[in-house]
């Protein structure tokens, strides 16, 4: 009786999503509106004080880079069902190991690789506690944070130096007004963050890896019954995600050129806010990170200028206040992957 009914002829794309080479791109109008306001404000400010505006614009992207990388680390883990609140610790470990390797070898490449390896191992530890021990993932993440802060503070010795990370202005483009210094005169890790957004997006929505990752994060037993190895996917994703956290940690060294105790200063946690505000989607992460980066840059500029007769700590508060406000608003409407935080038990 159903055999003869014609196929429903609904169009190939669902409403609210557009198909392109990048797969389904969902636009979050709240973030877009925020970015538009900032863009307009910057253009107006540029007319008024081009030098400072350019400085804020460049710094916005520079500040956003570690947030993007760290938030993508969180995203890859959470999309496969593991909550990672240990990003802060992973970044700190990566920054420390990266600094020590770079300073003793004098080689930045080795430093980056050391940092990535350290954060990746921490990610595997998280996967192990979540998959094999079925431990509470919040507690496991907290262990990483405490361990990261403790061990790096303990082992840290002052007086070491590492080669500074070079700036790679892109010839021709870096001369453009405002845009040039905003997008085309950064260090390698900042570019890496922007490239990572595209790579993770394509991987998540266009590849077998991404399909399996999303399935495991939403409904692991469904993935399991069709032969997807749930545990393997979780281990692998946390190892990959850890490498991104490693880049995020090294991105802090890119601007500081030296390791400091607790130098992440809550960026790993802000990255989680960025991930949630970005709705667990790479381009959402990019937009959200730019918003956060802007408030960081603004705060830094205001502190530096001492334009107003207000203690600088108040400006320092801005990014954190913004984080709280964003989470209070965005947390309401965001839907995390369904299987997040739950250990998977095979039948």
């Amino acid at each position: 009786m159903t055999t003869t009914s014609p196929a429903p002829t609904s169009p190939a794309s669902a409403p609210g999503s557009a198909r392109s080479l990048l797969g389904r791109v969902r636009v979050d109008y709240r973030i877009l509106a925020g970015l538009a306001v900032i863009a307009v404000a910057m253009i107006i400010a540029y007319q008024w004080d081009s030098q400072q505006t350019t400085a804020v614009a460049a710094r916005t992207i520079r500040e956003a880079a570690p947030l993007i990388l760290a938030a993508l680390c969180g995203l890859i883990g959470e999309r496969s069902g593991i909550i990672n609140i240990g990003i802060e610790g992973q970044m700190l470990l990566a920054a420390f190991v990266g600094f020590m390797v770079a300073s003793s070898s004098g080689n930045l490449i080795l430093g980056v690789m050391g940092g990535m390896a350290a954060a990746s191992v921490a990610g595997l530890f998280l996967a192990w506690t979540a998959v094999a021990l079925k431990m509470d993932q919040i507690i496991a993440g907290t262990i990483i944070n405490i361990f990261g802060l403790g061990v790096t503070s303990f082992l840290y010795v002052q007086g070491r130096t590492m080669p500074s990370v070079p700036n790679w202005p892109i010839p021709g483009l870096d001369e453009l007004p405002l845009i040039g210094s905003m997008l085309f005169s950064h260090g390698p890790l900042t570019y890496a963050a922007l490239v990572a957004v595209v790579v993770v997006h394509v991987a998540l929505f266009q590849t077998r890896w991404g399909l399996r990752t999303r399935a495991v994060g939403e409904h692991p037993s469904a993935a399991d019954t069709v032969g997807v190895r749930v545990y393997f996917v979780r281990y692998r994703n946390l190892a990959i995600a850890g490498m991104l956290a490693g880049l995020a940690g090294f991105a802090l060294l890119q601007s500081a050129s030296v390791f400091n105790r607790g130098m992440t200063n809550g960026k790993g946690f802000i990255a989680l806010a960025v991930m949630i505000f970005g709705r667990y989607r790479p381009f959402g992460v990019l937009s959200a990170a730019v918003l956060f980066g802007f408030f960081n840059a603004l705060q830094a500029q205001l502190q530096f200028r001492q334009a107003f007769d207000i203690p600088p700590q108040f400006f320092g508060m801005i990014p954190f206040v913004f984080t709280i406000a964003v989470l209070a608003i965005a947390g309401l409407r965001t839907r995390p992957p369904a299987a997040i935080g739950q250990p998977y038990e095979k039948e």
């Binding site: 009786m1 159903t2 055999t3 003869t4 009914s5 014609p6 196929a7 429903p8 609904s10 190939a12 794309s13 669902a14 797969g23 266009q206 590849t207 077998r208 890896w209 399909l211 399996r212 999303r214 399935a215 939403e218 409904h219 037993s221 469904a222 993935a223 019954t225 069709v226 032969g227 997807v228 369904a338 039948e347």
Partner: protein
Amino acid sequence: MTPTESSGTPLIEARGLTKRFPGVVANDRVDLVVHPGEILGLLGENGAGKSTLVKMIFGIYQPDEGQIFLRGEEMTADGPGQAIARGIGMVHQHFQLVPPLTVAENIVLGAETTRGGFLNRRAAEDEVRELSQRFGLIVEPSDVVEDLPVGIQQRVEILKALYRGAELLILDEPTAVLTPQETDELLGIMRDLASSGVGIIFITHKLREVLAVTDRVTVLRRGKSVGSVDTADATTESLAELMVGRSVVLQVEKSAREPGEVVLAVDGLQVRDDRRQMSVDGATLQVRSGEIVGVAGVEGNGQRELVEAITGIRSIVGGSVTIGDHRVAGHPRRVRDLGVAYIPEDRERDGLVGNYSIADNMVLTDYHRPPFANTGIRRFDAVDANATELVERFDVRTPSIETTVGSLSGGNKQKVIVARELSHDNKLVVASQPTRGVDVGSIEFIHEQLIASRDEGDAVLLVSAELDEIFSLSDRIAVIYEGEIVAMLDPETTTREEVGLLMAGGGESDGESNGQVAGLGADGAAVD
């Protein structure tokens, strides 16, 4: 329909399968044969070992003894992956679909065709579309699964198995979650699949469905195969007897009774559903003491909201609900204190706390008052004594009253609710789908209990999607359509066809009859 080559090599043959779990023999030397193009009904009460048997065939469990032959070759599968690779597909009772992914993504997951790791979405969708047309399982590959109704999701599950080349399809209680119309469609699909050569193992405890669609039936009782019969030679009575092991009273015995005063009065009731639509709109209904009023209707015509308004769970927008002399105004506990028992539609969600013991679930409505609590302190001896008595009286099959309710079978879960609700001194019993997903033996028991309540003088409001149930229990039948009671009928003088037509909106001159009259075909219950 008929086995095409019952003399040829069977598609699958299980010989002497035995599976033991600590303390129980779940399957005891069970034999089973399915030929290509044949539909085998696997019948049995909850806990009879049907699921264990198919899980061995699907490779989830390994048999302790016995062999499985696939097309004559012995098969050992240590995991579903191997079973899938050999052409066995299983549609689980709880769907194994990833809700936010599309139909095509769900179908290809785990068996993706890729180029350098990249998915070819268009090719996958085309492939799914082709498959869906070939087997008459119409789906749109780019739809997101979570937006689809349950019946369509089930098609996706079946397609998932066919995509992997399944020649043997195991359907584990596929109709438990379906409306009568969806059930009819599924049975049609099963016939089409069988005629294209797929062998099907169809697990159910609805005898009507077995008779409607299968070629042969294998019946399990307490882990043993008690018979394999050709469907053509079987009747509802003979199958029910095989299943339960004694003759089952399918026709409910009910004495004539004169109803008393009005206990429940629903007047011009308006209630909104979760999507803020007015799903009950002007319903009027009365239930007197000592009578059962059955509410018949296609699901989604406001039954759920009607019941939730009467029990105080959902707020009333307009009109009134009066129980005895009291107007109901959205306080579930006050409604209960008026002497209202409530058997909810979704027992797992609304009727039980899965992680609590049977003893605690038995006092969910009374834990706070004597004898189960005294000045705020719980009295566990009274709680345990109550549970022990009710488990005995209502025949709940459980190792202990400390067992968590979540680990019981569907029929036993329902018995826990029925025991809790009907052991009180009630004035009104509201029973919503009381036998959904429950085995024959338990259905019979629950029906008896509802009749007993009526005979004690309770007013009973019964909401059911099973027309058989409505007809055999009700003293009066209320037909609900688009949130209104469109007819009040006497079951003695009404036919199923008339009720079916009213349910589909055929009673009104301008009603849009959708032609698919619910429940006229294979809607299921064991009652006839």
